[in-house]
Symmetry: C2
Subunit: 281 residues, 2 copies
């Protein structure tokens, strides 16, 4: 396994691999790898002849009052984990090499990024689609892997790749969870014991919604209110949103039919957590 | 030579050519080919093993009151010209195949596209960088060719490709002119005889500016005013802008030093014409 810091060098490596006709699987990450990332890497390893992982805490997807500076960066541990998983190349660029002075090009998918998290994190998804577009151009993957936990991100990236005819496929893999159901996230490290305890309510709340719907409650407002009430037992929890939306355009589902996404974002103390499930009606 | 209409088919062709290790030169056009385009195609022919020309009148780069519907579309003549120039593939997609229902991804280079023409054509350059990004992803050229007449467009495309690490080079070729100096443009066809006569003043005005600067007049305002006065002799001409700007960031040149771009846009009757020259001080 090789750790590459320079964009030029990664381009040379990619060129060679392409010439050899080897397929490239790519897992873009911000590091602080957890079993969710590792499951993506295993998927990439299974499908492809070469596996690239990028580790880059992308400043332009963080808002001014968000956690950019304290975001965990355990690079040595991450490298060891990638090595163990049979990754071929880690791309670990510096900020300056990704965004040289005067950088000023942005890729935006407005329709899919205004709702859900986009409403509360203005500019976030523009930062995501821009950096992922650039990473796709550098790594030129055949398949790129994203986790369902960040459903809106995966959807926006997929839409970007399709709309711009990028020659690659985007695969979305299931959310990996702790034993108690908490979705794996690098941000779980921020939680103190009582927040960590309350954090289990997110997935339980989503399952509650699924149960209500399965039992025949097809009234979105009522289902959402039940989840909101349920989450109130977590003293450290404050809800940002709970939404039931169309799977494809993430617009609020007016009629519960077919498949819908139930998504929520809460603060546990000062830590923002998100989770979602897909429910078939 | 092959004319290809489907994006999927062009991707397959590109894949084959890449596999053969042949280099791809690409000239994106809106058709109505003139000697300016042909000079770009010759450049592409000289530098590369396969030459692709796209012909696509891109609706999203036209404003609501612009000339989208009357833009010339002499496709048979264009095909014959490409054939004569040894083009290998013409990509001639439909609107629907480039922008399927729900298309909603945009590439923007804000800093370079707010001044000059961008001020008078809001949304224009966003339409250009978006379609060119998509065309680059479809054709995957080694080198793409643009004309200096559309200097701001070429600069924005070059910046986009660099910022997003697209694996290609952008070459900008000199403006090709009629015998009397008028810059070749598909829009010249719109001109009636008196407008056509007045249109020669654009290049003469630019040369006047160069002469004034070369003779030691380094006062931008004074040089611009002289050009404005000079253009007044064209009864069908109304000036949109005359600017002297930095070559790299196209911001107004405060001090005339090094190389500058003198650029102008005028209406000759109802036809918008642009031209520019680079002057070394």
């Amino acid at each position: 396994m090789k750790v590459v810091r320079s964009p030029k060098q990664i381009q040379e490596i990619v060129r060679k691999i392409k010439k050899q006709g080897r397929s490239i699987g790519f897992v873009p990450t911000m590091g602080a790898l957890h079993p969710g990332h590792l499951s993506l890497i295993r998927g990439a390893r299974k499908d492809n002849q070469a596996v690239f992982v990028s580790i880059f805490v992308n400043p332009i997807q963080f808002g001014p009052r968000e956690d950019l500076s304290k975001y965990p960066r355990p690079i040595k541990k991450d490298i060891a984990l990638c090595n163990k998983e049979g990754v071929d190349f880690i791309f670990y660029p510096s900020f300056k090499s990704m965004y040289p002075d005067g950088f000023d090009t942005y890729v935006n998918v407005p329709g899919l990024t205004e709702g859900l998290c986009g409403k509360f994190r203005p500019g976030h998804f523009k930062g995501v689609t821009t950096v992922v577009n650039k990473l796709f151009n550098l790594i030129q993957p055949d398949i790129a892997y994203f986790g369902q936990k960040d459903y809106q991100q995966a959807l926006a990236v997929k839409k970007m790749a399709e709309d711009l005819s990028m020659p690659l496929a985007v695969k979305v893999a299931p959310t990996i969870r702790e034993k108690d159901g908490l979705a794996m996230s690098s941000r779980n490290k921020y939680l103190n014991p009582s927040e960590r305890k309350d954090a289990v309510l997110l997935y339980r709340g989503l399952k509650l919604a699924r149960n209500l719907i399965n039992k025949g409650n097809h009234n979105c407002v009522s289902v959402i209110n039940s989840v909101r009430k349920f989450l109130k037992q977590g003293r450290t929890i404050s809800v940002q949103y709970i939404s039931i939306v169309d799977l494809k355009n993430i617009e609020p589902a007016l009629i519960l039919k077919g498949k819908v996404l139930i998504a929520l974002a809460v603060y546990a103390g000062k830590t923002r957590l998100i989770d979602n499930i897909i429910v078939k009606i």
